[in-house]
Amino acid sequence: MPSKQTFRGSQRSRFIFLLLARANGLSGVIVSGRAGWRNASRRIMNSASLSFSPGSIHAKSTARSDSWVALALVIAATLVSIGLSWDISWHSTIGRDTFWTPAHLVIYIGGASAGLISGWIAIRTTYFTDAVARAGSVALWGGRAPFGIWVSIWGAVAMITSAPFDNWWHEAYGLDVKILSPPHVLLFFGVLGLRLGAGLMVLREQNRHPESRALGWLFCWMAGLIMSGTIGLFLVEIWPTRQHSSEFFALVSALIPFFLAATTRASKLKWGATIAAGSSMLFHASIMWILPIFPATPKLGPIYHPVTHMVASPFPLWTILPALAFDLLWQRRKNRDSWTADLILAGGAAIAFIVIFLPAQWEFSKFYLSSGSHNWFFAGDRIWSYRARPGSWWTSFFPNEAGWTMPSIIRCSIFATASAFFGFSSGKRMTQVQR
C-alpha cells in the first residue's frame, strides 16, 4: 500500500511533478506538433489541479516520467529493428560481416541504450525513489522496477550472452549463412525481450493514461514492430516464392492472428490492430524503399547475381487486411467477458483471417513474382542476394504442397483459432498491466 506522505514530501513531489509535466508536454510536441504541446500542457495542468492529494500527485509524477522511459525504449527497439533489416540487406548485398558494420552499430546502439536505460530505471526504482513509485513496480530478487524494465534487462542480457556464443558458432560451423541458428535464436529472444519490454512499458503507461492518444499510437507502433519482428525470423519460410505452400499457410495462421487479436483488444484506439499492422507495413516498406537507393556491390564471391544497390526485403505481408477485420469484429462483439465468448470471437477471427488474408496474399504473391512488381514501390526485382543464381525459380513457386487443400485449410483453421484465442486472452491480460 502507498505509504503516507509528509507535507514536506508532497511539496517536493509537486515540484518534481511540475517539472516532469513540462517534459511530458514536450513528448506531445514530438508526436503532435505545436498543437500537441498546447493540448498536452493543458491536460497536464488540468490533471494537476484535479488530483491534488499527496499520494496521487506522486503516483502521477512517476507515471509521467515513465512515459519518457517508454518512448526511449520504443525508439531503442525501433533502432534494433532498423539495424536488423539493414543487416539482412548487408548480408545479401555486400556480404562481408564484421563486428563493426554500420548495421551492427545501429543494433548495438539500440540494444545498449535500452539496456542502460532499463538498468538505470531499475536502480532508480530500487534505491532512489519513494514507496509510491516502488509500489507501481515489480519486485525481483530484491530489486524493484516496472515489469517492462525487467523484461528489457533480460533481453539485453540475452543479447550479450548471444554475442560470444555466436562468435564461437562462426568459428565452429562457419560465418553466417543461415538466419536460424541457436545463437541467433537466443539473439532473437534478446531482441524480443527488448521489444516486449518496450511494449510492456508502453502498455503500463497507456493503461494508466487511457486518454492519451499518443500513448495509444505508441502501443500500436510497438505491437506492429513485435509482430513483424517475429514474422521476420521466418524470412526464408515466408519468401514470396513459398507463399502458395501449406507450410506458409500454417505458419502465418499460427502467428499473425495472435498479434492482431492481442493488439485490437489491448489497444485504447478504435482501430488498434489496423494501425499496428499498417504502421508495421509502412515501416518495413520504408526500409524496402530506402535501402535500394544506395549503391553497393558484393565484396564476396561467388557472385551469381551482380547487384549494384542494397538489396531489399520483399514487400511486407498484407497484415493490414485481416487487421481491419479483427478491429471490426472486436468493435461489434457482445460485451460478455468469458473464455467461451473469446473462443467464439477467435473462431470468427480465424475465418476472417483465412477468407481475407490467405487469398489476398495468394494473389499478391502471384503478382509479386511477375514483372509487374519490378519497380521501386514493390521492389520485386530487388530482393535477390548476390549469391542467388538467376533462374526460373525466381519467378515460380516452390513445388511444395499447395495451401488450398482440405487438410491444409483444416490445419490453418485450427492454428488460426487457437492463435486468435490466445491473442484475445493475452489482450485481456495486457489491458490489466499497471506496473
Partner: protein
C-alpha cells in the same frame, strides 16, 4: 559431372566403417583431418612469377567454410621498390565473372617485401587465388590453387563454457521468475503485494528447461550434420592385392556412395599421370615407392608393385578432380606372403617408366640416399615457410647437376612420424600442378586470352646441383622427408629426418 568433394558426404551417411571412426577420433582429439588435399597439411605455398616479380605466396585456408583465409605474399630476390599487391579468391564454379573486387594486401611493418591480406572463402570447393602485383617494373599475376573445405571440429573452452552456463542459468531462472511472479505482479494495481506463486514458477521453469533441451537437440542435429556432411572427408580408397603375369598387382578402388562402383571419376592429369601413389612402410618409414597406377575401370586403378619388403604399408593417392580440387586418398595394405596370392586372369598393367622406389639399405655399396643429401639445419618451427634443400653429390663428394623427373627438378614427400601429416610437394610449391594448369586455363578463358600451359617456371634457368622445396610444417614433431630427382637417367632419393618445434 563429379562434385567438388569426390562424393564425400553421401557415403558417410550410410557407412560408418573403421576408417571413418579412426578419422573421426583423430579429428576430435587432435583437431586434424586425415583426409584433405595432402593430409593434415593445409597451408598452400607457391613460388612463382607474377610478371617480372618473383614471389612466394602462402595461403592458410580457414578450418571451417565459410571462413577467412590468411594470405602472405613475399617478394623474392632483389628489392623491387614499393609495389601494389592485390589478392582475389575465384571460385572454380563461378570463375572471374562471379568474383568480387580484389583486396589490397597491406605491407607488413618490419618485414620489407612482405604483404598480408585476407581471403573470404564462402563456399566449399575449389578456388584459385589471383595475386596481382604492380610496380615500377610493370605488372603481373600469379594463380594459386586453394582447396576450401571444412576440416575441423571445434570444442568450447572451459572459460567460455563457464560464462555461457552462468549466463544461461541466470537467463533461465530470471525468465521463469518474470513469466510467473513478475507477470502476476504486473497485472495487480500498484501497491498490492502477492505471495506464493512458487509452484507456477517451478512449472514455467520446467517448461523453459524443456525448451532449452529442445534447443540442445537442435544444436546436436546441426553438429551431426556438420560432422557428417560439411566436414571434408576424402573418398574412401580400397586397396587389394592380386597376382598377374607373375607380378604383384595393387588394385585400388575409389569409393562412391558406400560402394566402389558407379559414376566414373572425372580427373585431370598431373605431370601426365591421373594418380600419384606413395607407399610408405610403417612404422619404420624405411621403404618408399612412388608409383603411377593406370586406370582399370570407371573408379579403379591398377599398378604393378615393385619388389618391396614385406610389411604394413600406408598408401597415399594424390588425384585432382576436373574442378581443380586436389585430394589425397589414403588406405593401407599388408605386403606379407604375397607369393600366396591367387593368380588372376586379368592382364597386368604396364609398368610406368617414371615409377620409382627406395629402401633404406641399398644392396649397392654406396647408399642411394648419400647421392642426394639434405643441406642445412634440421630443426624448424611450425607455421613458418621454410626451404627444404637437397644437394646432388657424387661418390667423391663433389656436387653433381640434377635432371628433371616428370617435368620437375624434384618431387618430395613429407610425413610426420605418426602419419598425421603427409604432403607431396614440388620445388614450385605444395599445390597440385594439374590444378594450376586448370586454373591458368580458366583465367585465360575468363579474360578472353588464349589458354597456354606454361611450365617454364617448373624448371631451373640453369644447371644446378640443388633442389629446394618450399613448405610450412603444420605442427611440431619429428618428420621424415624423401626427395626425389634424377642424376643422369637414374631416379635418386634423398632422405632426411627433421624435427619441428
Amino acid at each position: 559431372m563429379l562434385n567438388d568433394f569426390g562424393d564425400w558426404p553421401v557415403y558417410l551417411r550410410r557407412e560408418y566403417n573403421m576408417k571413418w571412426i579412426i578419422g573421426y577420433i583423430c579429428v576430435a582429439l587432435f583437431g586434424i583431418n586425415l583426409a584433405t588435399a595432402h593430409v593434415g597439411s593445409p597451408a598452400v605455398v607457391c613460388d612463382g612469377l607474377a610478371g617480372p616479380y618473383a614471389v612466394r605466396v602462402i595461403v592458410l585456408p580457414p578450418p571451417v567454410i565459410p571462413g577467412r583465409a590468411e594470405i602472405n605474399v613475399r617478394m623474392l630476390g632483389q628489392d623491387v621498390g614499393p609495389v601494389k599487391v592485390t589478392v582475389l579468391p575465384v571460385s572454380a564454379l563461378a570463375g572471374l565473372a562471379g568474383a568480387p573486387p580484389p583486396d589490397l594486401a597491406e605491407p607488413v611493418s618490419g618485414e620489407a617485401g612482405l604483404y598480408h591480406g585476407e581471403l573470404w572463402l564462402m563456399s566449399s570447393g575449389s578456388y584459385s587465388v589471383h595475386v596481382t602485383i604492380a610496380g615500377s617494373r610493370g605488372g603481373g599475376a600469379l594463380v594459386v590453387p586453394v582447396v576450401a573445405a571444412a576440416t575441423r571440429t571445434l570444442g568450447m573452452s572451459v572459460l567460455l563454457k563457464a560464462v555461457l552456463v552462468v549466463l544461461g542459468v541466470i537467463l533461465l531462472i530470471s525468465a521463469a521468475t518474470l513469466l510467473s511472479l513478475g507477470l502476476r505482479q504486473s497485472l495487480l494495481p500498484p501497491g498490492v503485494e502477492t505471495r506464493g506463486g512458487v509452484g507456477t514458477m517451478a512449472v514455467v521453469f520446467l517448461v523453459l528447461c524443456a525448451s532449452v533441451y529442445g534447443g540442445k537437440r537442435w544444436w546436436d542435429a546441426v553438429d551431426a550434420n556438420y560432422r557428417h556432411n560439411e566436414i571434408y572427408h576424402a573418398s574412401l580408397l580400397d586397396g587389394s592385392l592380386g597376382r598377374s603375369d607373375a607380378h604383384t598387382v595393387l588394385h585400388l578402388a575409389v569409393g562412391h556412395d558406400g560402394t566402389y562402383g558407379g559414376e566414373a571419376l572425372s580427373l585431370i592429369p598431373d605431370h601426365g599421370k591421373l594418380m600419384h601413389l606413395f607407399l610408405i612402410r610403417e612404422p619404420q618409414l624405411d621403404v618408399l615407392a612412388h608409383l603411377h597406377p593406370a586406370r582399370s575401370g570407371p573408379r579403379s586403378f591398377d599398378v604393378i608393385l615393385p619388389e618391396l619388403p614385406e610389411g604394413h604399408y600406408r598408401v597415399y593417392s594424390d588425384i585432382t578432380y576436373e574442378t581443380g580440387f586436389a585430394a589425397t586418398l589414403t588406405t593401407a595394405i599388408d605386403l606379407s606372403r604375397t607369393s600366396a596370392l591367387v593368380e588372376t586372369k586379368m592382364a597386368a598393367p604396364k609398368i610406368d617408366p617414371d615409377d620409382s622406389w627406395w629402401k633404406s639399405t641399398s644392396e649397392t655399396n654406396a647408399k642411394e640416399e648419400d647421392w642426394l643429401r639434405f643441406v642445412g639445419e634440421r630443426r624448424f618451427k611450425k607455421g613458418e615457410d621454410v626451404n627444404l634443400v637437397f644437394k646432388g653429390t657424387s661418390a667423391s663428394g663433389q656436387p653433381v647437376n640434377l635432371s628433371t623427373y616428370m617435368g620437375m627438378l624434384g618431387h618430395a614427400a613429407v610425413r610426420r612420424s605418426d602419419g598425421s601429416v603427409f604432403a607431396h610437394i614440388h620445388p614450385v610449391g605444395t599445390f597440385s600442378m594439374a590444378a594450376e594448369d586448370f586454373f591458368n586455363a580458366q583465367r585465360a578463358r575468363d579474360l578472353g586470352l588464349t589458354p597456354m600451359v606454361d611450365h617454364s617456371h617448373h624448371h631451373p634457368a640453369a644447371a644446378t646441383s640443388e633442389v629446394s622445396f618450399p613448405y610450412v610444417f603444420p605442427q611440431s614433431g619429428n618428420y621424415r622427408i624423401w626427395a626425389q630427382t634424377k642424376i643422369g637417367d637414374r631416379v635418386v632419393t634423398g632422405v632426411a629426418d627433421v624435427s619441428v618445434d
